[in-house]
Symmetry: C2
Subunit: 350 residues, 2 copies
Amino acid sequence: MTNQAAGAARAYLRIATEEAFAPPELISMWRDMIDHGTCDDPGFVSMVGFYTAARTERTRFVFERLQDLGDLRLADMDAAGIDRQIISLTAPGTQILDTADAVTMARLANDQLAEACRAHPDRFSGLTAIAPQDPGSAAAEIERGRRELGFHGVIINAHTHGEYLDDPKFWPIFEAAEALDTPIYLHPSTPSRNMIGPLLEAGLDGAIYGFAVDTGMHVLRIITAGVFDRFPSLRLVVGHLGEALPFWLYRLDYMHAATVRARRYATMKPIQRKPSEYLRENVWITSSGVAWAPAIMFCREVLGPDRVLYAMDYPYQYVPDEVTAHENLPLTVEEKADLFQRNAQRVFCL
Amino acid sequence: MTNQAAGAARAYLRIATEEAFAPPELISMWRDMIDHGTCDDPGFVSMVGFYTAARTERTRFVFERLQDLGDLRLADMDAAGIDRQIISLTAPGTQILDTADAVTMARLANDQLAEACRAHPDRFSGLTAIAPQDPGSAAAEIERGRRELGFHGVIINAHTHGEYLDDPKFWPIFEAAEALDTPIYLHPSTPSRNMIGPLLEAGLDGAIYGFAVDTGMHVLRIITAGVFDRFPSLRLVVGHLGEALPFWLYRLDYMHAATVRARRYATMKPIQRKPSEYLRENVWITSSGVAWAPAIMFCREVLGPDRVLYAMDYPYQYVPDEVTAHENLPLTVEEKADLFQRNAQRVFCL
């Protein structure tokens, strides 16, 4: 099967759900922070420092495509056979900035993305960028994104200055997302300052391992803090096949129950359901970066076939052969229609 | 099927491969360190502080059994249908002590365990405890354990004062294990000081998640540093179904190649094989703590049926029903003989 773009030639559309962009103004701000040493977050310095300093074919490829919301992106989509991208602000987004810049930059990113979605309504959908640094403003931006800009969810790029969303000060964000019936995509970034040490010294802080560690923990913090008890209709989308949490369902349930029973931590109180139940009922996962049949099939088995969505991770992992790998999964046409199209339509209300 | 102990009633023995003990002298030393505040490792203070302070039924159960190498342990094994335990010093073992105490305590632990193995040669096998703080002495103790005490491998409980085994200063340990054809079991403990922060504040530093994060990273550090290129016959055993690394085989290979190609880190140089190849060829995994068919079957599929061993994690997870869960796996008798008996006999040269 070739990766032709026209969904009409298939029984389903291919919707890629974790696809990145960045406004030139944000890239420029990041560059300034690196050049002037005004940000001391070790993960930011490592990751963005590398991407802005290294002038390799690879970094040029990524930077050029991150900033494109037109012909270049559409040509890549056509070549890989992607009918629609759900586009979101790339990590670390606004979350490394001070509050005022973050609020400004989130609005700017949303305005640019909304314009591109209006220009290509049959190819692009968008998620709302926010500045979690100002939860009230973030909630208002979620509403603007949903009601005025036509976006289909919210993007949050990991921790914000080392703080995680289980902190109740961030809960106006969850409240707005639930009230507007719009999901939150929790995307990785480099681990926070108090976790990155031994990962960074070994070169393991990035997508090879550190991203999953930080984001997996983040999801567990959200679950164990009772966020889904408070916001039972909230939908969370997590990439990279759920950052391996599906592999841990049994152990999470066993150890969570044991830890709560032992009253060992003030931060781990009883919650209404098992961790695995929140992971099956409030969380959806995408296959970004993991075009590998055994893991995809495992996740479909343990979470349910309606829980796993296709993603490419454009432009970071622009590998058209991985589309073919998804097409070659041992699934019926109907099951592939769920994976590539319908699950995304349901979760993001496309 | 009941969990009767007599292997004769089955076609295979049940050998449990990650079973813990602790000398009373070590427990006492840990208590003193907690009581006098002479150890400031946050993971040790959290975990051992909890176990020594909480006088619950659960902590009494664990402490009593950790220190027993006789009737109590044998009765539990009989009740759960375990024919043989491979016993090792529990985490954090000696690795939280100063060097002199660690060397002394490793020898003491080995002498106690060897005596128990001599008393019950048909029920107990042992692994050699070491003090990685003194790699030369550790290598000598590995030789004593193998040649004089009749042990079948080496136990290392995670990092040592925040240092990991990819540091070449520890490589005499690998050299001795390879030369003596004896495997190293890399067991988790709480993450090191520079990684534990946001895990600890959320109560996620222990077996629920932090153990896997630290140990998974540790294995990756060993692989990416080229340890298996230098010691190609070295065998590593990892619990908890490989700390989720089997789930990541595809992404590890993809991202390792990309990272090496980018020359982003001085610590991540080219190695001879893909990470997944080391994980399939130099690493064996046990099912400690994860008595869950989907994950066990997944690991057998992606690593190979000869790579997955049974373990209980006694006394921490003494759950006889989990033996039944293993018996109920969709495997033939021959395949269960590999899981419960033969793979362990091969890896540990029993």
